[in-house]
């Protein structure tokens, strides 16, 4: 582990990203058990320099359930029967109206951007039937402090762009300011002067970025 390596210009190499990602996922698993763990999705068929053993990939956290739009509707015991026209009256079937389309699911990916040399947070939301959620609907699910952070901060804004590996539009927090504010973060970190150890990179980065999408990390992760 290259824990001796440090970041001083706010940017990460692709190997640094792999290291930082594992460190982040491990700390998350230990300290943040209210959430499922991040998993590493390796990329195959990437034709980049494979001089080192580090594989390329991204971190994935999926199917986070938000019930904010769910009304507390009791199970609706409407005995509407599901019959096919020629089937017998299916009295065994008890069609319970499940809370369809009222639960929102979110997927988050942390992907390395080789052009900006920083990590980027991609995310999307969808209902239980699979229909994607628009940004307006997503913003309603975010805690209000996140929404105001989006409006006020000049470092964070959401854009919709093609996911680099999945070939579909996802929302992302645009990375063009990341290098700058990571530098600010590392400068203010007293213990390491102006350097930030690689394995803390993603933790620090996520402590800022996560708030925008309503994901907080416990303070213990920053140690």
């Amino acid at each position: 582990m290259n824990s001796g390596r440090e970041v001083s210009d706010g940017r990460l190499t692709v190997e640094g990203f792999s290291v930082a990602a594992r460190a982040f996922a491990d700390k998350w698993k230990i300290h943040n058990q209210s959430f499922p763990p991040w998993s590493w999705v390796p990329l195959i068929n990437r034709t980049l320099h494979l001089s080192n053993q580090q594989e390329e990939g991204y971190l994935s956290l999926e199917e986070i359930l938000i019930l904010s739009s769910l009304e507390e509707s009791p199970e609706d015991e409407s005995l509407n029967v599901a019959t096919d026209c020629l089937e017998k009256e299916e009295s065994v079937d008890h069609t319970i109206l499940n809370q369809e389309n009222e639960a929102h699911y979110y997927d988050f990916h942390i992907v390395y951007s080789s052009s900006y040399k920083v990590p980027v947070l991609y995310f999307r939301g969808y209902c239980s039937g699979g229909q994607p959620l628009s940004l307006d609907v997503i913003k309603k699910d975010l805690p209000s402090c996140s929404v105001s952070l989006l409006h006020e901060s000049k470092w964070t804004f959401i854009t919709q762009e093609e996911h680099p590996y999945l070939n579909r539009p996802w929302f992302k927090l645009h990375p063009c300011g990341t290098e700058d504010w990571i530098k600010l973060l590392s400068q203010s970190s007293i213990s390491t002067g102006c350097q930030m150890p690689v394995d803390l990179y993603l933790v620090s980065w996520f402590s800022v970025v996560g708030q925008v999408v309503g994901l907080r990390i416990p303070l213990e992760m920053l140690n």
Partner: protein
């Protein structure tokens, strides 16, 4: 005979729900477009489900992009077996090519066919080897790949028990097991779930020994389990979260148990989780009572049900993915993003809305017109109209960036070809072309032509009225006169660009003379004119006339250095954008490049807003100039505008047919006489050479 409660109720199941990830439709669309074409044979697919993981929300049977038969191009490693939340289940997809054939599908027989497969798997024993086949499913769909909308309907075939099973009791697992047993069961389940080999096996046996030790076994080990247990339960991953009902997979499970092992009493275990661990409060244990099939009915396939309801109704579901799949929409959002990034990162006060809504009229679709159009598109301007009389000539495509060789060969009109070209570059452009000549003064017309020329004047006037900004990009000086007049009359932004051989001029016309409010009509003409910037003709002491003979700079010149048109065209657009972003718009004062930075930058976020830019590429020099409107201007002076307003067509005809008419009208004739007579005087006298104030 096992004990029963006095009146057992009919066992009722919660239906399984489907969830189709967007990625599935993307992959399916590619598959259809690239490989299948119109082939509509059924496609084997894989669905995924797992046990319920949340006390308030049921899990679904999910289709993902990896549900489709494997493709070579995926750059992400496909889901391997051993994913705990993705137990693979075989299914089949019938996709039709039209909506009509979707509606006409014989759903009953399709369902029956799948139910038959399940029954066969039960009879043959395959269901014991690979129990996931008990949850086999069916999907019918119609994918409209022009509108990017998908209509679909799931069926989860369930074999109907006749008579139906009845429920003797149902309670949370934590109440059924002793606490020792519960601990052991949880541990065994977690172990089962943590092993790659077993985590995606959704049906299993739970055997609890008399000393409270639980173990999980495969279904096929049922015989081996006989005798050495205290309790034996049929466990399964239950996607349902409800406390009073087991989930759908139990249906075919009971059919299997009845057919293979002829049990009349079935203890079942609805396995549910939370936070990734077995949750015995959420999980249920129940006792069902089943009537054994007798004799011949044991061999016949039971009836089946299972079409998914859509909000309680027996109708298919549909989803529109145009926003994420329609290439035009994707292009639009990419272009918009580009502009937004510019605003966010560099120019937060940029008003992008004014740019996307401004309507631009381009008079001339030649070297300048093509370049202006392209740069306008770069700024996100979507609404462009071309006016040009000519056809694309063989020499054009190399210098006129919207045309190709095919346009010349086809003899296309420039106005038409330009529109087509814009749409090919960016499909969301709103563009139209008008094939029309602009009437010019100094080119007298016969009386037969009068009507059509006047009609053209009217057309031009209407075009100017209906747009917000006009670019004067024609190739003669006199063809700019009428547009300049009409723009001054309608107070529309006019941007003028003209090329010499190695020089160019780009300017913005000032506001029209009647842009000032009515009370100001009383004011001194001189004073009010000083507030208006000049137009192209303000500096002239001759009216526009036939310029067939070679004149000087910015008059008729078709031979120019090729680099000039792109430069001048681009500057013209930047000038327009500067005007549009300026709070005073057309009334903005003219700045010089030497003017102090002080107050001006507050007005326009883009920097200074000059009146005129002149450049000579032979020197690589560029200067900005400032000129006030002239009282004697043949195009924009108060005199001319009011005459036009009063006399309309007869004014136009006179100007077109008699160029000296304009000079007389505006007093230029007088001025020239005065200048000439002044010269004479000067020869005779010794007066000091005072500069005479000449309106330039």
């Amino acid at each position: 005979m096992s004990e029963k409660e006095t009146s057992p109720t009919i066992l009722q199941f919660a239906p399984l729900n489907s969830s189709v990830d967007e990625g599935f439709w993307h992959s399916f669309s590619s598959l259809k477009l690239d490989k299948l074409g119109i082939d509509d044979s059924p496609i084997p697919i894989t669905g995924f489900y797992g046990p319920c993981s949340h006390p308030q929300v049921s899990n679904h049977l999910t289709l993902l992009s990896e549900s489709l038969p494997l493709d070579e191009q995926s750059s992400v490693a496909s889901t391997s077996h051993g994913n705990r939340n993705k137990c693979p289940v075989p299914g089949i997809l019938y996709n039709t090519n039209t909506l009509e054939s979707f509606d006409k599908l014989d759903k009953q027989s399709l369902l029956k066919a799948e139910a038959n497969k399940i029954w066969d798997d039960i009879q043959s024993g395959k269901a014991l080897e690979d129990p996931a086949v008990l949850s086999r499913f069916l999907v019918i769909s119609f994918a409209d790949l022009k509108k990017w909308s998908f209509r679909y309907w799931f069926a989860f075939p369930a074999l109907v028990l006749d008579p139906p099973a009845s429920l003797v009791e149902l309670k949370p697992a934590s109440e059924y097991f002793s606490s020792e047993e519960a601990e052991s069961v949880s541990a065994a389940c977690n172990e089962w779930r943590n092993s790659d080999l077993t985590t995606d096996v959704p049906f299993f046996l739970v055997s609890v020994s008399s000393d409270s030790k639980a173990s999980i076994r495969h279904l096929k080990d049922w015989e081996a389990c006989q005798g050495d247990h205290h309790k034996l339960l049929f466990g399964f991953y239950d996607p349902c979260h409800l406390p009073n009902n087991p989930g759908w997979p139990l249906r075919n499970y009971l059919a299997l148990i009845r057919a293979r092992w002829s049990l009349e009493t079935v203890w079942f275990f609805c396995y549910r989780e939370s936070r990734g661990f077995a949750d015995l409060n959420l999980s249920l244990v129940g006792q069902a009572s089943v009537t054994l099939a007798s004799g011949e009915s044991a061999e016949t396939v039971p009836n089946s049900v299972g079409w998914e309801l859509n909000k309680g109704k027996r109708v298919p579901r549909s989803i529109s993915l145009a926003n994420s799949m329609d290439p035009t929409r994707l292009a639009v959002s990419a272009v918009d993003l580009n502009l937004k990034l510019m605003r966010w990162r560099a120019l937060p006060s940029l008003d992008l809305n004014v740019l996307s809504s401004v309507k631009c009229l381009l008079l001339g679709a030649g070297t300048l017109g093509c370049q202006v159009a392209r740069t306008l598109m770069g700024w996100g301007i979507r609404n462009i109209t071309f006016v040009d009389y000519g056809k694309v000539a063989m020499s054009n495509p190399v210098r006129q960036s919207l045309y190709t060789f095919e346009d010349c060969v086809g003899g296309e009109f420039k106005a038409v070809a330009a529109v087509k070209s814009l749409k090919q570059i960016f499909p969301a452009m709103e563009s139209s072309g008008v094939v029309m000549a602009i009437p010019m003064p100094g080119h007298p017309i016969s009386s037969q032509e009068e009507d059509s020329v006047l009609a053209d004047c009217k057309r031009l006037s209407e075009l100017i009225e209906s747009h917000d900004a006009v670019f004067l990009l024609t190739d003669t000086r006199e063809s700019r006169w009428l547009p300049s007049l009409l723009c001054a009359n309608a107070n529309k932004i006019a941007i003028n660009a003209a090329l010499g051989f190695d020089s160019y001029m780009v300017m913005r016309h000032g506001a029209g003379p009647t842009s000032l409010s009515d009370d100001m009509q009383n004011l001194d003409m001189n004073k009010t004119n000083k507030q208006r910037l000049g137009c192209y003709f303000c500096n002239d002491v001759v009216a526009p006339q036939d310029s067939m003979t070679d004149r000087t700079l910015d008059q008729q010149c078709t031979v120019t250095r090729p680099g000039l048109a792109p430069i001048a065209g681009a500057l013209a657009v930047e000038l327009l954008v500067g005007v549009l972003q300026h709070p005073l718009g057309i009334n903005a004062k003219g700045d010089n490049s030497s003017s102090s930075n002080g107050g001006n930058n507050d007005d326009s976020p883009l920097g200074i807003l000059p009146h005129q830019i002149r450049s000579s590429v032979s020197q690589f020099s560029q200067i900005t100039l400032l000129g006030q409107a002239s009282n004697s201007c043949t195009a924009c002076s108060e005199t001319v505008i009011s005459e036009y307003r009063e006399r309309g067509n007869s004014f136009l005809l006179e100007a077109i047919n008699h160029p000296t008419y304009l000079e007389d009208l505006t007093g230029l004739t007088e001025l020239k006489k005065a200048a000439n007579s002044f010269n004479l005087d000067w020869e005779d006298d010794d007066t000091d050479d005072e500069d005479v104030a000449v309106h330039m």
